[in-house]
C-alpha cells in the first residue's frame, strides 16, 4: 500500500501556484501534513481525494494513476473535507445510510457498520436527532464517521480540529491514533500539537513546496541543541523578536521567559532545552522564508 506523489503542480486562475513540483511517497501510518495557511495543503488534499486534478505531475495509488482511474482509489478512500455540510433534515443513521449507498457498500450489512461507527464517534445517543440541530463538534464527528464507512485504506482529514474545543480536539487525536495501523492516514493541519500527538511521519509544506519529510524524531533531531530558554525584561522582547526565531514567550514576575531556536547561545543566561515539534516546525518555516527572501 503506497501513495506516490510525483512532481505535482497545481495552478489556479490568475496564474496562482498552489503546488510546485511536490514529490512525496506515503506509506501506512499517520502522515501529519503541516504548513502555514495558504501553503497548498488543501489543494494537495483535494487532489489526493480526487476532487480536483493536478495541473501536472502524477499521483499513483499502488501504481494506478488516480487522475486517469479515480474510482480505484475512491473505493478505498475516506475523506473528511475542511469545509463540508450535512443534510439537515436527515438524522445520523439516515445520513450514514445514504453515504453507504453512495459509496456502494453492501446495504444488508451497512447498518451494523453504522452502529459501530456511531459508537466510535460517541453519537449513538444522538442517532435519531436531525443533523440540522448538531453542534460543530458533532457534525465533525459525523464527518469522520462517513469517512470511515468503507473502512478506508486511505483516510484524508483536512484541518479536522478547526473549530473544535480543546476536549474535542484531544478526542479527535485519540480517534486518529486508533485508526492508524494498516492504512494511510493523512492529517492536514496548521496546528502542530495535533500532529505531535499522532503522526508517525511529518511533511512540512510552504508556498506549495515540500520543505521536509521524515519522522518526528528526525525533525526533532534537526533542532537538537539549538533550542534555548531564558528570561528577559519585557521591554527587550520586541527587539529580541527581530533577532531571533522566538517559538514561545511566557510572562513571569521577573520579565518574559522566551524560547528560541538559534545556532549559538543567544544570551549568557540562556539554557539549552529539549526541543519540541513546534520549535522544529518554526525553524524549518523560518529557514525557508529566509531562503526565499
Amino acid at each position: 500500500m503506497i501513495l506516490h506523489i510525483e512532481r505535482v503542480n497545481k495552478t489556479y486562475k490568475g496564474n496562482v501556484h498552489a503546488l510546485n513540483d511536490l514529490t512525496v511517497d506515503v506509506k501506512p501510518g499517520i502522515l501529519g501534513l503541516l504548513g502555514p495557511n495558504g501553503a497548498g495543503k488543501s489543494s494537495l488534499m483535494r487532489i489526493l481525494a480526487t476532487i480536483t486534478k493536478a495541473t501536472s505531475g502524477t499521483v499513483k495509488w499502488n501504481d494506478t494513476d488516480i487522475s486517469k482511474t479515480p474510482n480505484v482509489l475512491r473505493e478505498v478512500l475516506g475523506y473528511l473535507p475542511q469545509d463540508f455540510g450535512v443534510y439537515p433534515n436527515l438524522n445520523a443513521v439516515e445520513f450514514l445510510e445514504y453515504m453507504a449507498a453512495i459509496k456502494g457498500l453492501d446495504s444488508s450489512h451497512s447498518r451494523k457498520r453504522i452502529d459501530e461507527l456511531l459508537d466510535v464517534v460517541n453519537l449513538s445517543d444522538m442517532r435519531k436527532r436531525p443533523l440540522g440541530g448538531y453542534s460543530g463538534g458533532m457534525r465533525q464527528r459525523i464527518g469522520i464517521a462517513q469517512a470511515l464507512l468503507n473502512n478506508p485504506q486511505l483516510l484524508i482529514v483536512d484541518e479536522p480540529t478547526a473549530g473544535l474545543d480543546p476536549e474535542e480536539r484531544v478526542r479527535f487525536r485519540n480517534l486518529l491514533s486508533d485508526l492508524s495501523g494498516e492504512r494511510i492516514v493523512i492529517l492536514s493541519t496548521h496546528i502542530v500539537s495535533d500532529v505531535e500527538a499522532t503522526a508517525t511521519e511529518i511533511a512540512i509544506v510552504s508556498q506549495g513546496r515540500l520543505l521536509v519529510h521524515g519522522s518526528p524524531e528526525s525533525l526533532l533531531r534537526s533542532v537538537e541543541g539549538r533550542v534555548w530558554e531564558w528570561t528577559v525584561p519585557t521591554a527587550e522582547l520586541p527587539a529580541l523578536k527581530q533577532r531571533y526565531n522566538i517559538s514561545s514567550s511566557v510572562r513571569r514576575t521577573d520579565g518574559v521567559k522566551v524560547r528560541a531556536v538559534a545556532d549559538t547561545s543567544p544570551s549568557a543566561d540562556a539554557q539549552k532545552v529539549t526541543p519540541g515539534l513546534e520549535d522544529a516546525y518554526l525553524s524549518v518555516i523560518t529557514s525557508a522564508r529566509g531562503e526565499a527572501a
Binding site: K103, G104, S124, R171, S180
Partner: protein, 517 residues
C-alpha cells in the same frame, strides 16, 4: 450616507463581476434584439403604431416593465442569501449598521442591477428608432420618458419586494418564488382589469387606452385588441401615436410608486432577522443541541496508548435500487404531513374529477406541487456543501446522477398517477405516451438546470412559465402536462422525449465537467 453608499457599491460590484450577471446582461441584449427584429412587439388588432420615438419608447418600456420586473425579481432575490452563505452577514451583524440601512442598501443595489438592464433596453430603443424608416423627428426625451415614469418605478418596487421576500422566512425559499410568479402577474394587470389608474402599476391601462384611441382615430374599423408579444398577424397599417400627455396628476401617480418602494423596505427592515441564527428560517430550523447534550456523550480524554480500531468486514456490493431509495428518501425528507395530504388530495382529484377537468386543472396542480423537490435536483450537493464528500465517492457520475434522475421520475409518476390510471382505463395511448414522456422531461429538465446553474431558481422560474403558458394558457406546443395538445401536434411526445434525452445528457456533461476540474 457613506455607509449606505459603500454597502450598495460592494453589493453591486460583487454581482456585476459574477458570471451570472453577464448572462443576464446577454438576455437583456437579446430582449432588445427581439424587439428590434419584430419578434416581440406591440400590436393593436391588425395595426401598430408608427415607429416614432413616442411609440418605440412606450413599446420598449412596456417590454422592460413586464419582462424585467417579472424575471428581474428572481435575478436580484439573493442579496441577503449571499451574505448568509458567505458568512459576511455574521460580520455585518456585529457592526452598528441598522436594519433599515441594510435593507435599503440591498434594495438600492437590486435597483441598480435592474436599472443597468433598463439602460441596455433604452440603447436598443434608440437603435430601433435610428434604424426605422418610419421615424420622424428624433426626441430623446419622448423616448426615455416612459422608461423613467413607467419602468423604473415598477423596478423600484420589485427591488424592494425582493428584499422583503428574502427577509420573510416563509417567502425566502422556492415557495416565495411561486407566490411572486402568480402574485406579480395578477398585480401587473389588475389596473387594466379594473380600468383604474391608481392600481395600474405597469401603466398598461394608461398606454393601451391612449393607443386605442389613436388607432380608432386612424382606422375606424379597429375593434379592439392590445397585445404585447407576438401574434404572428400581418400588419395592415400603422397609425401615429404621439405619446402620453403627462399631466401633474399622472406624474404624481407614476412617481408615487417610487414612494411605495421605501415603505416596502421599511417593512422588510422590521422583519429582517439581522443574521441572528435563532431567527433565520424559523419555520424549518431545529433547535441546536445544548452544551449539556454534548457533555453527556463525551468520554474522558484518553492518555493511554491507541487501541487499534477494528471494524467488521463490509464488502463493496453496489445496488442501484438502494441508492435510488436513498435519493428518494433524501428528496422527501423534511416534508410535513400537510404536504403529503395536499399531494394525495390532488392525486385523488385526478381520479374522481371529470376527465377533461382532471387533465386541465387537477394534473397541472398535481405536477406543480412537487416543483421544489425537482428543483433541488443537481444542486443539492452544492446547497448543503456535501459535494466534496459525495463526488469523492466511487462512480458518482454513473451511479449517483442516474439515481437522482430515477428518484425524480418516481416522484413525477406518483404525483401524476391519478391521471395515468384514467388514461389507461380509457385507452388513450397518445395521452399515455405524453404522460410517460412528461415524467421523464420534468426531472431531466430539473437536473440539467440544477447542474448547470448551480441553483434551484432557474428550474423554478422556467417551469412556472412553461406550466402557465403551456398547461394553463393552453399553448399546445408547450403543453407537455395536460397532453391535450397531442391531438393537434401528434409528434409532441417524440419532441419532448428527445428534449428529455438531451437534457439528461446536458446534466451528465455538466457534472462530468465539474468533476474533471
Amino acid at each position: 450616507m457613506s455607509i449606505l453608499y459603500h454597502l450598495i457599491r460592494a453589493d453591486f460590484l460583487e454581482r456585476a463581476r459574477s458570471y451570472g450577471f453577464l448572462i443576464i446582461l446577454g438576455l437583456a441584449i437579446l430582449l432588445g434584439f427581439l424587439v428590434n427584429n419584430g419578434t416581440i412587439g406591440l400590436t393593436l388588432g391588425k395595426y401598430r403604431g408608427e415607429y416614432n420615438t413616442a411609440f418605440v419608447g412606450a413599446m420598449m418600456s412596456l417590454v422592460a416593465t413586464f419582462f424585467l420586473s417579472w424575471f428581474g425579481f428572481y435575478l436580484v432575490k439573493n442579496a441577503i442569501q449571499r451574505d448568509e452563505r458567505t458568512g459576511v452577514g455574521q460580520i455585518i451583524a456585529t457592526t452598528p449598521l441598522s436594519r433599515l440601512h441594510y435593507a435599503a442598501g440591498k434594495a438600492l443595489s437590486n435597483f441598480a442591477v435592474l436599472a443597468i438592464m433598463v439602460v441596455i433596453l433604452i440603447i436598443a430603443a434608440i437603435v430601433l428608432q435610428l434604424l426605422s424608416d418610419e421615424r420622424s423627428d428624433f426626441s430623446l426625451l419622448d423616448l426615455v420618458t416612459p422608461f423613467l415614469l413607467i419602468t423604473l418605478p415598477v423596478l423600484a418596487v420589485v427591488a424592494a419586494l425582493a428584499v422583503l421576500f428574502e427577509s420573510l422566512p416563509w417567502l425566502s425559499s422556492g415557495f416565495g418564488n411561486v407566490v411572486f410568479f402568480f402574485g406579480w402577474v395578477f398585480f401587473l394587470i389588475i389596473g387594466d382589469e379594473n380600468k383604474n389608474d391608481l392600481l395600474d402599476i405597469s401603466a398598461i391601462h394608461l398606454i393601451s387606452k391612449s393607443m386605442m384611441e389613436a388607432a380608432r382615430h386612424t382606422f375606424p374599423d379597429y375593434s379592439g385588441g392590445f397585445v404585447l408579444g407576438n401574434t404572428g398577424q400581418e400588419i395592415a397599417g400603422t397609425f401615429r401615436w404621439n405619446g402620453i400627455a403627462w399631466t401633474p396628476a399622472l406624474l404624481m401617480i407614476r412617481l408615487g410608486w417610487f414612494c411605495v418602494a421605501p415603505f416596502i423596505v421599511l417593512i422588510a427592515s422590521f422583519v429582517f432577522h439581522r443574521f441572528d441564527p435563532s431567527r433565520e428560517r424559523t419555520l424549518k430550523r431545529k433547535p441546536v443541541l445544548s452544551a449539556a447534550d454534548e457533555v453527556a456523550v463525551l468520554s474522558p480524554v484518553r492518555t493511554s496508548e491507541p487501541r487499534h480500531l477494528n471494524l467488521t468486514s463490509l464488502p463493496l456490493r453496489f445496488r442501484f435500487g438502494t441508492l435510488v431509495v436513498a435519493e428518494l428518501r433524501l428528496m422527501m425528507k423534511g416534508k410535513r404531513w400537510w404536504w403529503y395530504a395536499i399531494q394525495a388530495g390532488l392525486i385523488v382529484a385526478c381520479v374522481v374529477a371529470p376527465l377533461q377537468e382532471a387533465r386541465q386543472f387537477a394534473l397541472p396542480f398535481a405536477w406543480i406541487w412537487p416543483m421544489m423537490i425537482w428543483s433541488s435536483m443537481g444542486t443539492r450537493e452544492q446547497q448543503f456543501r456535501t459535494d466534496q464528500i459525495v463526488f469523492s465517492s466511487p462512480y458518482s457520475l454513473s451511479r449517483q446522477l442516474p439515481a437522482v434522475f430515477i428518484a425524480g421520475v418516481m416522484v413525477a409518476m406518483v404525483a401524476g398517477s391519478g391521471i395515468f390510471v384514467r388514461l389507461l382505463i380509457t385507452g388513450d395511448w397518445p395521452g399515455i405516451a405524453m404522460w410517460v414522456v412528461a415524467t421523464l422531461f420534468l426531472p431531466s429538465f430539473a437536473l440539467a438546470s440544477g447542474v448547470w446553474s448551480g441553483s434551484s431558481k432557474l428550474f423554478e422560474v422556467v417551469y412556472l412559465c412553461l406550466w402557465y403558458v403551456g398547461a394553463m394558457s393552453k399553448t399546445a406546443s408547450l403543453d407537455f402536462i395536460t397532453a391535450l395538445g397531442v391531438k393537434t401536434i401528434p409528434q409532441l411526445p417524440m419532441v419532448y422525449l428527445a428534449l428529455s434525452i438531451a437534457l439528461y445528457a446536458a446534466a451528465h456533461i455538466g457534472r462530468k465537467t465539474a468533476l474533471s476540474h
